[in-house]
Amino acid sequence: MHWVVAVPMALLALSCVYPVFFTVNNALKDNKGYILNRFGIVQDPSVQNFVDAWGRAHLGEYLFNSVTVTLGAVVLLLLTSSLAGFALAMLRFPFRRVLFIVILASLMIPVQVVLVPFYRTMMGLGLINTRFGLILAYTAFFLPFCVYLMTAFYSRLPREMVEAARMDGATLLQIWWNIMLPMGRPALLTLGILNTLYCWNDVLISLLVLQKERTVMVGIAALRGEYTTNVPLLCAGIALAAAPIILLYIFFQRQIVDGIAVGAVKG
């Protein structure tokens, strides 16, 4: 009976691993070697593509921008969404439900629709070509979902915990920092993972805001030409761009799996 599970699982695993193999394998070929033999194992591996991607395609500089912006945006997102989720789930104030519905509704607006007003706003605030501007932009675009998730998560926690803290003399900010933030860990971890990926992988918003400097995924996107693409160079770029995320996963593997598991069991 176990092979009924094992075989599909093995296929699933293979379908995840193969693209990684394809990328690394081809990153080590030169363009001619790739075109003549796309799927074969590399014959005389060279790291030239990695050198080119890092230097000539500026991915080295772009990586720094991506790390800064992603880190900044994720921290800001987690702090603001847990604050908002705390307020919406635990506190009573006028128009609370209306506010929540407005936030929910803003989830349904596609990015493309607001690009022009967004760009005007960023220009008006002088935030074009600043990393801080991109951090704010990511926070704004991804915040509605984060607020929704944190509100839903906090709504399942007993309100009595907040009341107990109030009886203990904690201010609202103290309650948030000492109780809600640590209690929100599973949801915050999930959001942290999701938003890291969103921010890291974003191209469109980053293209508009950071025009002089670039984030790494924009650098990767720019490696794709109008007509042709140097696939080995692109593969090298992708491998470089994916490396920090993979390292992050390896470092936080336990917490990430726990976070997902906790979320799943309690969800």
Binding site: Q112, Y119, L204, Q211, A222, T228
Partner: protein
């Protein structure tokens, strides 16, 4: 008071000491093959205009028009922006500065301006000329028992070539790109070039030649007939047209392919991959007896943002970009066929390229699909698939095309 303002204005325009940074958008400046050209243009311009600087912003090709549209609509666009000739360019003319009378001597030396113009004038400075020819693999011709030196000149010649390939059975006759998406516009323009009269080309461009007219139906019918005769490879393809069709050709998997002459200069790529001795070139013939022609159009060109506060300086830079001196680098590195007719192409060694440049001087006709709208091209992609699948008749496909507005 009036004189004071006037003299102040004179002083400010006369003083080059106001350092200006021109922002230039494109999707090419990061391309290794084009990088030297863009660097050269910047160098030449900055030397001529001390204190002023050029800032290239390269946007990824697939997001380029979205971003450009957003930036222009927000009044935050670049000073200059690169455009593809034809419909893509025309969609942005409302944001572009009319250039008639602003280009000086250069105006007389530019080809391909039609694709960057409207009745109201010229809106971008063309850099390159794009066109389609058929490249063929001489080694495969020899394998199939054909004379590698005898390129097909007529539809019947091509039919004989393909019959030989089919008889040999090892390689498909004509490479075909991604069957789900890229479609048939290269085929369409290449056949139309040889089939249509100059008047018919003009009528089609103006939208006066219906898709259901016999001339257009003949092009579509050729597509269906070629497929029925087994000229195209069978089966679905996985990657995009260029990756699929041309890389396959470069691996020696197909006998013939309709390719580009510029920007991506296929003659240059194919020479490198297949060996120059194996690359042949001919102009796509059309069903019937007409002489084959080379469809060509303005490839890419620079427009000046009409809201740019530095529009005059931007025009100057557009002229630098299109100057023969600077474009020479583009030609040498990327094999770009430039719009500047003063360009010296004598240094080229590729036999295929020499042949193409010879035709460019005498055999060029309009590139039909460059005048189709984005909506029409999208529908053409769809119809080309259903035609290959045999889901619709040629008449139905043509009727469907006519329903899509220009």
């Amino acid at each position: 008071m009036k004189t004071l303002v006037l003299s102040l204005a004179l002083v400010t325009t006369a003083l080059p000491a106001f350092a200006t940074e021109l922002t230039v958008w494109d999707w090419k400046s990061g391309d290794p093959a084009a990088a030297a050209y863009f660097a050269k243009a910047k160098e030449v311009f900055e030397a001529a205009h001390p204190g002023d600087t050029i800032s290239y912003v390269m946007q990824p090709n697939d997001q380029y028009y979205t971003l450009l549209g957003t930036a222009l609509a927000s009044d935050g666009g670049p000073d200059l922006f690169l455009l593809n000739g034809g419909a893509q360019a025309r969609a942005r003319f409302e944001n572009a500065l009319p250039l008639d009378g602003k280009l000086g001597d250069l105006a007389a030396n530019l080809a391909g301006t039609a694709d960057f113009s409207e009745a109201t004038g010229l809106y971008a400075v063309p850099l390159t000329i794009q066109g389609f020819v058929v490249y063929y693999n001489k080694a495969l011709y020899a394998d199939a028992g054909l004379d590698p030196a005898a390129a097909p000149k007529t539809w019947d010649d091509l039919a004989k070539v393909c019959a030989a390939f089919i008889a040999k059975g090892t390689a498909p006759c004509i490479a075909l790109g991604n069957k789900e998406g890229f479609g048939m516009e290269f085929w369409f323009s290449a056949i139309a070039a040889s089939l249509w009269t100059a008047q018919e080309q003009a009528d089609f461009a103006a939208g006066n030649l219906a898709w259901t007219s016999p001339q257009v139906v003949a092009v579509l019918q050729g597509w269906v007939d070629a497929n029925a005769a087994g000229w195209f490879p069978k089966g679905a393809n996985s990657t995009a047209k260029f990756m699929d069709e041309y890389e396959g050709f470069m691996r020696g998997e197909t006998g013939n392919t309709i390719g580009l002459i510029s920007d991506v200069a296929h003659w240059k790529q194919f020479d490198e991959m297949l060996g120059a001795e194996n690359v042949g070139v001919f102009m796509m013939p059309a069903p019937g007896g007409a002489a084959a022609k080379l469809p060509a159009a303005g490839g890419i060109g620079y427009a000046v943002n009409k809201k740019s506060p530095n529009a005059d300086l931007a025009v100057e830079f557009a002229k630098t970009l299109a100057s023969a001196e600077v474009l020479q680098v583009f030609f040498a590195d990327a094999g770009a066929v430039t719009a500047n007719t003063q360009m010296d192409t004598s240094s080229v060694t590729s036999e295929a390229a020499k042949t193409i440049f010879g035709w460019l001087a005498t055999e060029t006709v309009p590139m039909a699909h460059a005048n189709a709208s984005a909506a029409q091209l999208e529908e053409l992609h769809r119809q080309s698939q259903t035609l290959l699948n045999g889901e619709v008749s040629v008449a139905d496909a043509a009727a469907a095309m006519d329903k899509v507005g220009k």
